[in-house]
Amino acid sequence: MPDAHVSTLTTPPPAAATATVALTDQLQRWLAEAGSMLQPPAPNQLYARVDDPASLLALAAHLRAAQCFLVTVVANDERELEDGWFKIYYLFSCADVDLFMLVEHRLAHASERYPSLYAVFPAVDPFEREMVDLFGLRPEGERSAQVPSGGWLHAAYPPALHPLRRDRTTAYLKQQVQAYYVKPARSRPVPANAPLPAGFMRLVAGPIHAGIIEPGRFVFRTAGEVIDDLELELGYTHRGIERLFQARMTLANGWQLAEQVSGDTSFGHSLGYCLAAEALAGVEVSQPAQVLRGLCLELERLHNHVGDTAQLAHDVAQELLASELAVVREQLLRLNAALCGHRYLRGVNRPGGVVLPAPFDAVSTGVVVQRCVRRYADLADALAANGAFRERTKAVGWLSRPEALALGVTGLPARAAGLARDFRYLHPNGIYRAGWIQAGLQAATAGVAPDDRVEARQGDVFARFWQRKLEVDASAQLVGTLLDHWLADEPLRGADGGPVDLLRPVRFDPARNFTFALGYCEGWRGDIVYWLMQDKLGRIFRCKVRDPSLLNWPALRQSLLPRLKDGRRHETILADFPVVNKSFNLSYAGHDL
């Protein structure tokens, strides 16, 4: 019954209340008031161009009041295009409805300053720092002093390199960087440290840390053991990926570079990229490919959550449990290798579908996943019941719900702080749009015990651990549902034996040159968003990669600050920092690109 498959895919989730329609209308009205409405790239998006700074700020205030989230900010050098100057695209997401708001702002002509939304959306901070280094665009007014340069391009780079501007070639950039470094009498600007009050100390940790971990520099201001503030200096793994998308990759093979952004999220990033490329080409992949994509996304979630739990146990010296959890993770990685030939699910996604090198054995995949998840559940329960673990993790590294909302935190840390932020529910695409998957997700959520739910939303280290455990359970159920669906449907299984090739032809129409599209999915850390603009000859004009870690690093800092909790002073000591950092487990490479 092939038609039944089509209908389950295109049937939207159960009709939302009339309040949703009212909200959509209101958003549309605000956008139309602020600027001119444009044709959005996809049906679940509203798109407006707002050039007037005052209107932009007013619109941002409206969106904030409507509890919208800032998803990504894309700066684009469009000086060679129709509008002739730099533009910034803001992407907002509605909290309750599957609706995105795209706001395009063209900077005032010949001005490299733009109105900052920081007062309304503090979440723009990392994006503004990125824009200073990579484009040389600064916010107007006093905000500019709060946005230092050098976050992504450290002292080794010449000043004013601005590598994402299109008026210099990649070879020129490379030559400039090499020339600057070998210059014999170079003087590097030494940042002046602010004087410390009496009794405070500055402790610098990094960029090389004691364990096997990515590089980042943490500058603590401590009063004895208590952390008073934390400055994060990242950017050490900046590989120039966005420039490479423009210079080296084409729309058809850009997924190979997307996989390199953050290795443990290879599949999530390649999926985000492929969805953006497919949106540009106007292609929707076949249902079997969507099922496999959903399966791999959940497998990636599973192995990373298990690994994180193992590392968390290791950090609190529960070595026996850590070792056993590491074994479970190894089994999941071997399952990935058996499924697609790569332990981290690389090489599966293409624009147009998926490719597997070997026949897909749904039965044994299901058996291994259920066995591993059962083992993980036992170990996680043992860890949760362990008194020493609870002492180290309860009420430690606490991030409250209002703070998470204010900072625009997304993904797992947001869910662990009580925010319902999950693109699988909120902005479903692919197989997640199918009614039976949404029903599965609802059932998984409903099946959680109330005590578990409360513990997983406290915002502390234990909550981020327990949220992982609940997500592993939910993912296991989803995997079971997907595999049952695969086995039950004859048309899905296709020919047995031989590699799996579920590709639809993808052609990039030159008429869509210099238009853009979005691709997004809920990776295991949070939502991954790709903004992709098509260039001539099937190349990429601009690819903005947004890993959820970019938004969540400020949350790590916030969770360490001393402040009041329930009327008492809540402090974090230096010795708890590794556990808190591990509980967030943010991607350095995904932040630095």
């Binding site: 391009l153 450290h154 080794a156 780079y157 590598p163 990649t170 070879a171 490379k174 400039q176 960087v177 090499q178 470094y181 960029p207 090389i208 004691a210 364990g211 096997i212 971990i213 990515e214 590089p215 950017g235 050490y236 793994t237 900046h238 590989r239 120039g240 990926i241 420039r243 490479l244 210079a247 080296r248 990759m249 190979q256 570079l257 390199q260 953050s262 290795g263 443990d264 290879s266 690994g307 590392q311 070792s323 056993e324 590491a326 074994v327 993770r329 190894e330 089994q331 071997r334 290798a337 058996a338 030939g341 790569h342 332990r343 981290y344 690389r346 090489g347 991607s587 350095y588 490479a589």
Partner: protein, 192 residues
């Protein structure tokens, strides 16, 4: 670490390997060691995938410490610097500083798509003599293509000569499996 415990550890490791029923069920070769090997890992700018495999080496299945090979917290305690790449300009100075404080004799193992180092067929480790070695296995990533992509970037660079000269092994796969890593580390021999 007495020899009576290594037998038990190896047996447990083999039992875990059998329980896994994964692709590779043979235990890595055991070698008699006169000295332990101390590794310091530095991420030179990788996509964090090689770090995942290095962490897996300390799990009970691969059990790196059973062979007397340990990751240490400071380069001052290390014999071998394990660098994952490609190397970025921002990590050049920290990496050079870490290498500088390592006591002699010191060597480097480069893991990942480094620029400017020789790459054989995927899955091979190249020892300093230029002789390819290690178990061959099917190519999973076009590592040479990846290196070619990163060569164009303004943000990456080859290993500086001081570090490249002491490089005793290159595992160019992205990432090399823990088996390949273990094989390479066991075949390195005594760095002195």
């Amino acid at each position: 670490m007495g020899s009576k415990y290594s037998f038990i550890r190896l047996t447990i490791g083999r039992l875990y390997t059998l329980w896994g029923r994964g692709l590779h069920t043979e235990a890595p070769p055991v070698r008699a060691k006169a000295q332990s090997l101390f590794l310091r890992h530095v991420d030179g700018g990788s996509s964090n995938i090689c770090e995942q495999e290095l962490v897996a080496l300390e799990s009970p299945i691969y059990d790196l410490p059973a062979y007397g090979i340990h990751f240490v917290a400071s380069p001052r305690h290390a014999d071998l610097l394990v660098v994952t790449g490609p190397l970025t300009w921002n990590m050049l100075d920290p990496l050079s500083a870490a290498f500088a404080v390592m006591p002699d004799p010191k060597r480097i193992v480069a893991i990942g798509p480094f620029l400017g180092v020789p790459i054989g067929d995927a899955g091979d480790n190249l020892l300093a003599a230029g002789r390819p070695t290690g178990a061959g296995r099917p190519k999973t990533t076009a590592t040479s293509d990846l290196v070619a992509v990163f060569e164009d970037s303004y943000a990456t660079l080859p290993l500086p000569p001081l570090l490249a000269d002491t490089c005793v092994a290159v595992l160019a796969d992205d990432p090399p499996t823990p088996q390949a890593l273990l094989q390479a580390l066991l075949e390195l021999g005594d760095p002195t």
